[in-house]
């Protein structure tokens, strides 16, 4: 028996709808599609008005930028999907850069060891977040705010406020080289997106993460290991923050303690623009990636259009507002039920 054979009249698909209307409805139903379209529109419009915008050099700049907030947005989204929030990613990325440089320069460790050690520390921080949230029931906001504060403080304490110079050339190789004409960090972003897409959409663990965020009690009663899934997402977010930290010091050839400040908010904005629901359980990887790309297109485009630096921030806020309003309207129109 197929599903089609058991239709009752009132549940049968609406007939006589023109194909265009159906396509439009489908697009409106899928949050990812809207962001992708917005990306294309923004790129085309700005490109038409600012000739340097579409140049290879500028595209390479944007690719390298994406390795920062874009990768953070992917990790952040994993946490938000479980119904949490991670405020520590920016500060942790900054600290990871400092730690790697400090291990390498001040402790004389070879660069690969410094990187592995830093990522291990980030993983431990993620485990700690998971423990606080799932076992001690500390709200994610507070748990990660604590890390945010401490991580920022440690960056300053280790460096006493002055950047660490003289890091291994391996770092700049990672960040400044190109494969073909594509900067390596952009490939990192692409790789992270593909892996995260695969994990979320093609593994049962990913699907369980969605379920935990969608309805934690239902997931628990269905026998899903909620604690492990939530912890996994915090670990992934913290490790990705570590990766960003390592890439950033390579790009700047120096470990600066002011790096990463405020990046967590950009990451959250990218996730929300990409269709991730802050209530958890909703949001697709394609949309998240497109959200990060859209924000980068706009940020860079405002520079290309020579918009006043102060006004740029306002424009970015308005973009975020539009995304949130659209999402809320869509939710109302399609009667999405929230707890």
């Amino acid at each position: 028996m197929t599903a089609q054979s058991t239709l009752t009249p009132e549940e049968a698909p609406p007939r006589g709808q023109p194909a265009a209307a159906r396509l439009l409805r489908k697009l409106a139903e899928s949050p990812s599609a809207g962001v992708v379209i917005a990306c294309v529109l923004v790129f085309t419009i700005i490109g038409a008005n600012a000739p340097t915008y579409t140049s290879a050099g500028n595209l390479q700049v944007m690719g390298r930028d994406l390795a920062q907030v874009g990768i953070l947005a992917v990790g952040e989204s994993l946490v938000i999907l479980t119904g949490g929030i991670d405020l520590s990613v920016g500060a942790l990325a900054g600290l990871a850069g400092i730690l790697t440089a400090w291990f390498n320069v001040n402790q004389g460790m070879p660069a690969p060891l410094a990187i592995v050690l830093t990522l291990a520390i980030c993983a431990a921080v993620g485990l700690w977040h998971g423990f606080m949230v799932t076992r001690l029931n500390v709200p994610p906001f507070m748990t990660t705010l604590v890390t945010y504060t401490i991580a920022q403080g440690m960056s300053l304490a280790i460096t006493t406020g002055t950047p660490i110079n003289g890091i291994d050339p391996l770092f700049s190789n990672l960040s400044q080289y190109y494969i073909g004409r594509v900067p390596v960090p952009a490939l990192f972003f692409l790789g992270v997106v593909v892996i995260a897409w695969f994990a979320l959409e093609r593994t049962y663990v990913g699907r369980q993460i969605y379920a935990v965020g969608g309805n934690k009690e239902a997931a628990r009663l269905a026998g899903i290991p909620v604690v492990r899934r939530v912890t996994t997402s915090y670990v992934a977010s913290a490790v990705l923050a570590g990766v960003v930290g390592v890439l950033v010091i390579g790009r700047m050839n120096v470990a600066d303690p002011s790096v990463g400040i405020g990046w967590e908010l950009s990451a959250i904005a990218a996730a929300v623009v990409g269709g991730v629901s802050l209530f958890g359980g909703e949001g697709r990887m394609v949309g998240i990636a497109a959200g990060a790309i859209l924000l980068e297109f706009i940020a860079n485009g405002l520079l290309a259009l020579k918009v006043n630096a102060y006004d740029q921030t306002i424009v970015q806020g308005v973009v975020l507002l539009a995304a949130v309003l659209l999402d809320s309207l869509r939710a109302r129109f399609f009667g999405r039920t929230r707890r």
């Binding site: 028996m1 599903a3 549940e11 593994t203 049962y204 699907r207 009690e217 239902a218 999405r336 707890r339």
Partner: protein
């Protein structure tokens, strides 16, 4: 106890004419004419879903009546407004404790008004606040030392909170006081005090509407006992007439218990064995379930029906006793352990406990078998979709496609999908909590068929329900819980509604309940749902 004073012609506190309320097609309250006289305590009894909550709600303004007129002291009561009801002197003490946990006892008692003695206009007069709060507590017989008025309410135990709630209602000097099972969470001393207060208000010329499950208590305190059944007033009795037997007969309607002829397995393997099982608010329970057997769990609100299901499923920790599954010891720490032991549970609240409403049907029905249908951790989309289509068609879910959000389906369709999800795990033991809550009559029959099918396939089924007809219809045996303890197990041949009600409500000694009211609160809420009879 007290002789009935209620004779027509005396002062009427509440006058109800043609009051009715429906949820969807189900008429849950229909009262052509009812007068509540001044100076009386009026007891109200009825089964779950008889319309008690709806009656209380229409009077207190929490429920908007569909039609009819209500007058309090000859003044029109605006439908569906708690403010209007309060202004006319209606106060209600519910089981849900609408207290603000973070505020102090005194602040809660005077919530929404200023101390009468305070002369300050804008600033809080703490001294007056505390003084007045202490007076309010003293009025209901609580010494200031018993409840410090400065304490945060959330730090107080449930019985104390219940008493604060009563003091708050009492302090409004109500004309009509509605008490919804006020003693269910109280010990004997406080319980007696509440009954005394009810009498005192009546003696002062007010009216008390006393909703109770404990029939002896209702008879003791009331001047008049009303029995509701299916939303209608079926009996209006004086205390002498209101014997326990009479009340139970009126509540259940004296219908013959109907049960279907069904093969009862006797020689199959014992799948689940409980010995002295205890948990918070539950036990001890001793029970055996055979493969292919359907055993019902009956009991009043707060008797531990859901707790039993949750404890066996591993969703609530057991505190003592042993559980055995097919001869092996079973000590679950979480529902995952239960699933691994071959248990599938269908919880009572579809929206809160079962479904991700905005997710597609596909993701909802494969939720419990994601791991099994994955190969080395990888989940193929085609495989998943095929599984989802197989599951939904096996339980006859009517839908456009498995990619529809499950929230768009009717209650019955959602429930069938959840059964499909449970069956997909190929369980040995199926645990059901209110399996037909909020589904229409046709969908109910289909769900009963699914339960039968589970038993025929050799699953042992434990089904908790507040609807006795349902249990009598589908079960081989019915276990009756009373205050968490197993009161009796009745075979189908002997099972009648009267016998079950007597065991569940009867004259069981009052055992102080555990302090956790989470279940009773949940059940109050869900009783409303079952009164709806349809998915909201």
């Amino acid at each position: 106890m007290t002789a009935p004073e209620g004779t027509p012609g005396r002062a009427v506190t509440a006058r109800l004419r043609g009051v009715h309320k429906s949820y969807g097609p189900v008429r849950v309250l229909d009262l052509p004419e009812l007068d509540l006289y001044a100076g009386q305590v009026v007891g109200v009894v009825g089964e779950n879903g008889a319309g008690k909550s709806t009656l209380m709600g229409t009077l207190s303004g929490a429920v908007r009546r569909d039609g009819g007129e209500i007058q309090i002291d000859d003044k029109h009561l605006v439908p569906g407004s708690t403010e209007a009801a309060a202004a006319l002197g209606v106060a209600m003490v519910s089981q849900e404790f609408p207290l603000v946990g973070q505020l102090s006892v005194a602040e809660n008692l005077l919530l929404g008004r200023r101390p009468r003695s305070s002369r300050r206009r804008f600033l809080v007069d703490r001294a007056a606040l505390r003084r007045e709060a202490a007076e309010m507590l003293a009025e209901i017989g609580l010494a200031p030392s018993a409840i410090p008025v400065g304490r945060q309410v959330r730090t107080l135990p449930v019985p104390t909170r219940q008493m604060i709630e009563i003091a708050k209602a009492w302090g409004r000097r109500p004309r009509l006081l509605i008490l919804d099972e006020p003693t269910s969470s109280l010990g004997p001393v406080e319980g007696a005090e509440v009954l005394r207060l009810a009498r005192e208000l009546a003696a002062r010329g007010g009216t008390v509407l006393f909703i109770g499950h404990r029939l002896d208590e209702v008879r003791e305190v009331s001047d008049r006992v009303l029995v509701l059944r299916n939303g209608r007033l079926v009996a209006d009795l004086e205390p002498e007439q209101a014997t326990e037997e009479r009340l139970i007969r009126e509540m259940v309607g004296g219908e013959v218990a109907h049960s279907r002829p069904k093969e009862e397995p006797t020689d199959t393997e014992v799948l689940l064995s409980l010995r002295g099982l205890t948990a918070d608010g539950l036990g001890p329970v001793d029970l055996d379930l055979r493969a292919g057997e359907i055993v019902g769990v009956a009991g009043l609100m707060g008797s531990g029906r859901s707790r039993l299901i949750h404890t066996v499923a591993g969703a609530q920790p057991a505190t003592g006793g042993t559980m055995t599954i097919a001869g092996s010891p079973y000590t679950p720490h979480n529902p995952g352990d239960g699933a691994a032991a071959g248990i599938a549970m269908i919880p009572e609240d579809r929206k809160e406990q079962s479904l991700v409403l905005f997710a597609p049907i596909r993701a909802n029905v494969t939720l419990s078998i994601l791991r099994r249908i994955s190969t080395r951790g990888l989940l193929g989309p085609r495989r998943e979709r095929a599984e989802a289509e197989r599951i939904t068609s096996s339980v006859n879910v009517r839908m456009r496609s498995v990619e529809q959000p499950i929230g768009a389906l009717s209650g019955g369709n959602q429930q069938r999908a959840i059964f499909g999800r449970a069956f997909a795990t190929e369980p040995r033991l199926l645990l059901l909590d209110e399996p037909t809550r909020g589904v229409d009559v046709g969908a109910k029959a289909e769900i009963y068929e699914l339960i039968d099918r589970a038993a025929e396939r050799g699953m042992a089924v434990l089904v908790a329900s507040s609807e006795l007809e349902e249990l009598l219809w589908i079960c081989h045996r019915i276990a009756v819980l009373n205050h968490g303890r197993l009161a009796t197990v009745i075979d189908r041949a002997q099972a009648t509604k009267e016998r079950i009600m007597t065991a569940a409500a009867g004259t069981a000694p009052l055992v102080p309940m555990a302090e956790d009211t989470s279940e009773s609160v949940a059940e109050v809420v869900s009783e409303d749902v079952s009164e709806d009879g349809v998915a909201p």
